[in-house]
């Protein structure tokens, strides 16, 4: 190496700065899925269906963006699905309780939103403190809190369903169902979160530190990075995004139960990995995560629209596509 002359150290060419073929793997998979969907069903590309798919992706999407930061810095959070259910439950109960005082109106909705974000922040802070201060493996911490949040919401609901007051619900409904310039609010919010996430990951210290910590936390520590605080912040950020996702989720069905958000954590983690973020940390790609989320919800949508296989086999198709998307990426990157 040392016999290479200095003249070789030129600025990287444009080609080197573009994402490599391997990085484009998930994008390719997404394009193929869209083409397949359009071929199989005429309504696939209709505004209604596109809106449905994007709006549905929004909850897991926002959570997955947060998850990208956690995983990039070498962590993991299994509790997000239960956390969403718990926050939804708390938010609905709080809004129902505040109703007699505040009446139906914007202040009540804003109070509900503040409570959801606050609950998300606290939940994330709890996970983060257990990981950083108590120094427990994130897998174990969040496996524990996953069970805790899930059983808390079941308890709050007395085993049943917590429903938002009908009048409040009617007022709150547009937050999921209507939008701006024909684009539904969840899609707009998801887009903002995704773009902000990408910028934070690529262009701020926080994103760079997440990658450094995930790559080698000792090096980060020796390089004057506040490792514990950055780690803590990734969990808090994720908690806030779960809160935000819940704000968009509650107006959809106006209820929360023990089965709300079931397996969201796995979908979010799968989306992150499909998108090209390393599960062991050290490298995060937010736009990849967004594509991963879209791939996951498109598979579902296409399977129902197209009657390709017995519904019993839907899980098989999903599994195969997920594994293929990752294999595509790995084999190309090693070539």
């Amino acid at each position: 190496m040392s016999d290479l002359t200095r003249s070789d150290t030129t600025r990287p060419s444009l080609a080197a700065r573009l994402p490599g073929l391997s990085a484009l793997g998930p994008l390719l998979a997404l394009v193929l899925l869209v083409a397949l969907g359009a071929y199989l069903n005429d309504n696939f590309l209709s505004a209604g269906n596109v809106t449905n798919v994007l709006a549905r992706s929004a909850f897991i999407g926002m959570i997955a963006v947060g998850m990208t930061f956690v995983i990039t810095s070498g962590g993991l959070d299994l509790s997000v699905g239960s956390m969403a259910a718990f926050i939804a439950g708390v938010m609905i109960l709080a809004m129902n309780a505040l109703l007699p005082m505040m009446g139906v109106g914007l202040p009540l909705i804003l109070a509900g939103m503040a409570i959801a974000l606050g609950a998300g922040l606290l939940a994330g802070l709890g996970n983060g403190l257990l990981v950083t201060k108590a120094r427990i493996e994130p897998f174990i911490v969040t496996l524990g809190t996953m069970g805790i949040f899930r059983s808390l919401v079941t308890w709050l609901a007395d085993g049943g369903t917590i429903s938002l007051d009908f009048g409040v619900r009617q007022f709150y409904r547009p937050v999921y169902y209507s939008g701006l310039f024909g684009i539904a609010w969840p899609i707009i919010v998801f887009a903002i979160v995704a773009i902000a996430g990408q910028v934070v990951m690529r262009h701020t210290r926080f994103g760079r530190y997440c990658e450094a910590i995930g790559s080698n936390d000792k090096v980060a520590l020796y390089s004057a990075v506040n490792v514990e605080r950055i780690r803590l912040m990734t969990y808090v950020l994720l908690g806030l995004l779960v809160g935000l996702a819940t704000i968009m989720y509650v107006p959809r069905l106006g209820s929360a139960s023990g089965s709300t958000g079931m397996l969201w954590e796995l979908e979010a983690i799968a989306a992150v990995i499909i998108g090209g973020t390393a599960l062991k940390g050290g490298y995060g790609r937010v736009w990849g995560t967004v594509i991963g989320v879209l791939i996951l919800s498109l598979i579902d949508n296409i399977l129902i629209l197209a009657d390709l296989v017995s519904p019993y086999l839907n899980g098989t198709i999903q599994g195969v596509i997920i594994v293929l998307a990752v294999v595509l990426q790995r084999s190309k990157s090693s070539a």
């Binding site: 190496m1 040392s2 290479l4 990287p12 080698n216 020796y222 004057a224």
Partner: protein, 528 residues
């Protein structure tokens, strides 16, 4: 016994070995020397079956070598001991030695394997317990385990890639005795090292590589160390140490009663501007712990005064805010992100200076261009992973990264470990320049000539305490060694590596145990 005939090797369009002829003979130690990047590693990989030559032949006992993988090579009796050990850290010594060739049928014969491991370790005069976990062993012991493992495979050819780089002086002695024993048993040995005095002592035959070609062959005693260095570098190396012309200024740092539990106790010293202060001592004497304690990487007690004002340094950030920086001895594990590129590594510890809230990429690139120029970092591509840089260039990058923070006090731990002689002299020049600029530099090193060549003043640590301080004309090797070993002990070795007369150097427990115990007690692998 094992030879290369006109071996060429190309990676892509670039040929990096240009027709190498090279032979290992039974019962001989053959030293292969050259600067980093001269092609030593490639040759060892080809010999060990890890790489296939592009053209030319590998011959074992006169016939084409019957292996194409490392595992097959081992089966054929050709064993490589890599610099990065090939041991499973969570398994025991016994389990590692027998890994892949476990004894017993359906169930493992633990007793036989343990006995076998014990026999091998006894043969090496090693006190390592067969049931110890690799993770808990110091680096030198791990090396012993590697050697035991090689022996257990009935190695006829043993290829050792810089085995002494991670060893302390005493451990090197043990290693040498083993090498001599293996030689006497008729094993063919290939030995590489950047420490030329080791080559002089060990090598029966010597091959010097430069830029992928053999530039010199010599038998025992035919080439002096200066001659070797000249052959390697291709030019005359004057003194690799810059002349000492420092003028110590005001006191920049004063440390009083400093303790880093559990090892370092009651250390006090002062450091002046424009001064290079050497810290010597055995591995495990608390040198690294002291440095890490000073910059807030370890909990510590005691007083630190900067320019006479007491400061509290609870973290690397606080230390940096007070103009203090520590450059780790372990650049791969603590210093650099090996799977990130040059830019991200360079700016990691000073990222706040490159824009907030958004990092300005152009400013980072500028900084890298400057660092490449200032520190002569040689990288084929700026966006390559740092892990693919040679050790010397990694060290230069780490130095550039540290200096980006513009620290007034720089503590450099093992500045030239595993680095070739050409790069060494560059790094010495950088260190000298830092002092000339009025900064204070602390150099921690196990390399005695380095300490003596660089330092204006030398502190010696032993068992976590300051054993003494030497200054100016009084700094001689003998003095330092006396302090390092402790004047009361009837120590049998000196730092020049020649066994002293008197007690046979058999590594008696009396001298061996305390250091080892101290190393373990401090509970970190970072300083072994």
């Amino acid at each position: 016994m094992l030879e290369l005939v006109d071996v060429r090797k190309s990676f892509g369009p670039i040929e990096i070995l240009h027709g190498i002829d090279f032979a290992l003979h039974a019962g001989e130690v053959h030293a292969l020397i050259g600067e980093n990047g001269a092609g030593k590693s490639t040759i060892m990989k080809i010999l060990g079956g890890f790489l296939a030559p592009t053209s030319g032949a590998v011959r074992l006992d006169g016939a084409p070598a019957p292996y194409t993988t490392g595992a097959q090579a081992e089966a054929a009796g050709v064993v490589v001991i890599h610099q990065e050990f090939n041991l499973a850290p969570d398994l025991t010594v016994t389990e590692n030695i027998w890994l892949g060739r476990e004894l017993g049928g359906l169930f493992l014969d633990h007793r036989a394997m343990r006995a076998g491991a014990q026999a091998l370790l006894d043969q090496l005069d090693s006190p390592i317990r067969p049931e110890a976990r690799i993770r808990d062993l110091p680096v030198s012991d791990r090396q012993m385990v590697e050697i035991a493992k090689a022996l257990s495979r009935n190695a006829r050819v043993l290829i050792m890639d810089e085995p002494s780089a991670v060893l302390t002086h005493r451990e090197v002695e043990v290693l040498f005795r083993q090498i001599e024993r293996l030689r006497a048993q008729g094993v063919a040995l290939l030995y590489t090292s950047h420490r030329l005095e080791e080559i002089t002592r060990l090598a029966d035959r010597l091959t010097v590589l430069r830029d992928g070609a053999v530039v010199r062959r010599a038998g025992r005693g035919e080439l002096t160390e200066d001659g070797m260095a000249t052959a390697m570098v291709g030019r005359d190396l004057q003194d690799i140490y810059p002349p000492k012309r420092h003028h110590a200024g005001s006191v920049a740092l004063e440390v009083r009663g400093f303790c880093v539990p559990p090892l370092v106790r009651d250390v006090s010293f002062t450091l002046r501007r424009g001064e290079v202060l050497g810290i010597s001592g055995l591995v495990g004497s608390g040198r690294t712990e002291l440095a890490e304690g000073l910059v807030g990487l370890r909990p510590a007690t005691g007083e630190i005064l900067r320019h006479g004002v007491p400061v509290v340094l609870g973290s690397v950030r606080e230390a940096a805010a007070h103009g203090m920086a520590y450059l780790t001895e372990d650049r791969k594990e603590h210093g650099l992100l090996l799977d990130k590129n040059l830019t991200e590594n360079l700016t990691l510890s000073t990222l706040a200076r490159f824009g907030s809230p958004f990092i300005k990429a152009a400013r980072e690139e500028e900084a890298l261009t400057k660092a490449i120029g200032d520190f002569d970092i040689r990288a084929p591509r700026r966006d390559m992973k740092v892990g693919n840089l040679s050790g010397g260039n990694q060290q230069k990058l780490l130095l550039a990264k540290t200096m980006l923070g513009d620290p007034e006090v720089v503590i450099i731990d093992e500045p030239t470990r595993g680095i070739d002689v050409g790069t060494k002299s560059q790094i010495y020049a950088f260190i000298d320049a830092l002092a000339a600029e009025g900064r204070s530099v602390v150099v921690i090193s196990s390399d005695m000539p380095e300490i003596l060549g660089l330092s204006d003043r030398v502190l010696v640590m032993r068992h976590g305490r300051l054993a003494g301080e030497l200054e100016g004309a009084r700094v001689t090797e003998t003095d330092v060694v006396r302090l390092v070993m402790g004047t009361q002990e009837t120590e049998t070795e000196t730092e020049t590596g020649t066994p002293a007369t008197g007690t046979p150097a058999t590594g008696t427990p009396a001298t061996g145990t305390p250091d080892t115990a101290a190393t373990r007690a401090s509970g970190s692998a970072s300083h072994v």
